[in-house]
Structure formats: structure tokens, C-alpha cells
């Protein structure tokens, strides 16, 4: 019974929140493409590699969260103003850390991710070479 009441409360809560969030229209460039197709392509490519902070498994291009809309507005308006996509990414990384970017980078903490597969390939090659040599 307690669980049911709790579930109901959650349901009412989420409905209340989503209803209340609708009161302000989305940011102008949240769902509005840029007029210049090249700029829109650049914006889209960048938005697909930026993490939605409210819904952390989606990119801001995929998310309908109001905050993702505000981030899309930020990206599109900056690109329309002539800013480079990587400068916008850097601006966000400065505020939220690498976490906000899906683009893989080699850094102090991530280099093993790139080094280990190479190392494994090397070891596999070495084993193969030794076996083949032993056979012949």
C-alpha cells in the first residue's frame, strides 16, 4: 500500500513538473534550424557530441529536456555568430569538465583506453608469431 501511494505521488509529481515546465516556450533556436545549411550542419554535428546534463545518456540533439533545448539554442546562436564548433565545446568543457563532451580525447586519465587495445594487439601478434615459428 505504501509503495502504491509512493508510486502515485511520483506520478503526480512528474506530471506536475512536466506541466509546469511547459509554461515558458522553448528557447528560440531550440527547435529552429539555422538558415545557412552549412552552419546548421556544423551545429548539428556538434550537438550530437554534447551530453544532455539532465538526461545523461542522451546527446542534446536527441533530448527534449528544456535544458537541452537551451543548450541547443546556445550552440546554434554561437555558430550563427561565427564561433567555431570546437570553441563552443571548449567553453562547455571549461564549465562542466570532459563529461559534457562525447568526443573522445586522449588525456591524462583516458590514455589507457587507447593504449590497452594496442598493447593487446601487440601481445596477440607476439603469441601468434611464436606459435607459427614453433610449428615451422
Amino acid at each position: 500500500m505504501k509503495k502504491l501511494v509512493f508510486a502515485l505521488m511520483l506520478l503526480c509529481g512528474s506530471v506536475g513538473v512536466s506541466f509546469a515546465q511547459q509554461t515558458l516556450p522553448p528557447a528560440p533556436l531550440a527547435y529552429q534550424q539555422l538558415e545557412d545549411p552549412a552552419q546548421e550542419r556544423a551545429a548539428q554535428a556538434l550537438m550530437e557530441t554534447l551530453r544532455c546534463l539532465k538526461c545523461q545518456s542522451q546527446s542534446i540533439a536527441d533530448s527534449d529536456a528544456p535544458m537541452a533545448g537551451d543548450m541547443r539554442h546556445q550552440v546554434r546562436s554561437r555558430i550563427a555568430a561565427g564561433e567555431e564548433p570546437e570553441a563552443i565545446r571548449a567553453w562547455l568543457v571549461e564549465r562542466y569538465g570532459d563529461y559534457v563532451s562525447y568526443a573522445p580525447t586522449v588525456s591524462e586519465t583516458t590514455w589507457p583506453l587507447f593504449a590497452v587495445p594496442l598493447l593487446l594487439l601487440l601481445v596477440a601478434g607476439l603469441i601468434l608469431w611464436r606459435r607459427l615459428r614453433a610449428k615451422s
Partner: protein, 176 residues
Amino acid sequence: MSNFRLWIPLGLFALFLGVAAYQLTQPKDEFVVSTMIGKPIPDFALRPSHPDRPGLTINDLTDGKPKLLNIWASWCLPCIAEAPHLETLKRQGAEIVGVAIRDRPEDVARFLARHGNPYSKIGADDLSEVQLSIGSSGVPETFVIDGNGVIQHQHIGDVRAEHVPILLRELAEAGQ
């Protein structure tokens, strides 16, 4: 010897399973911590969000007096829960300025009439621009800002009774 070496892959696999099982039992940390702590708040100017209170600009945060900057919204449920604790902070001498995210003035007014108004100034951040510029990823969040507009501390989530002394201490440290 070779018998023993045969078990190594299985051992490694068991170790991997163990680590994975342990990680599964750990609560998920969904907080995105701002990397702007220790850095100055970028320039901004927000229009008033409530007829009784002025809006908020960078000049209000660089007047030499440390403040609490509360990121909130009338549509945010945890903001209701933290309202009485913000009131306590204000009573204990903290100056709190508000940034209302994606909010209409009438909703702000209704929220403040119902849950109290601890804010000396409230700026309307309709496009989450100030929120994004200081690395905040949700509502509510509370930042401790020193007298020069430099972010000293970030509190993520609603302020509860046990956080009041922590925020007061951070505020006192920011004033030194």
C-alpha cells in the same frame, strides 16, 4: 606449474565479475560538478523576475559582500522543500540572490507568496544562459560567491537542514 597457469584466465574473469558486481551495488552518482569553482562568474545582466525585487547583474556580485546565489524555479519541486532552509540562512545573516530558470513572473510571484521570499534580488534566466555559464546543471543549486564575484562553493540539490551550517561556514570563509 602448467596446471596452475591454466587457471589464470578464469581467475581474471572472476576478478572482472567481482568488480562489475561491486560497481552494480554502488549508488549511481548523477551529480555533474561545476568546474567553475575558483573562477569568476562571467559577465551577465538579467531582468527582474518579480515586481518587488530588482534583477541581477554581475555588478551585484562584485560589490565586496559574499552572497549565496540560488538557482531555482517555481516549477521545481525540491525548491519548495528547500524554501524554509533558505529562510533560515537569510535569518542567520546570509544574503541570497536568486536566478529563476525558465520562469514566468506570475508563477514566480505565486511561488514566493506561498513559500516565502528569501531573495534580495531575482534575475530571470529564460534561456538558462547564466546557469550554463557557471556550470550548473539543474535546479536547485546554490553557489557561494565571494565579494569579487568568484565562485567558492557549489551545493547541488535542495538545501536541507544539515546543509545550513555548511553553507554559512563557506560563506564566512568567502568573506575573509
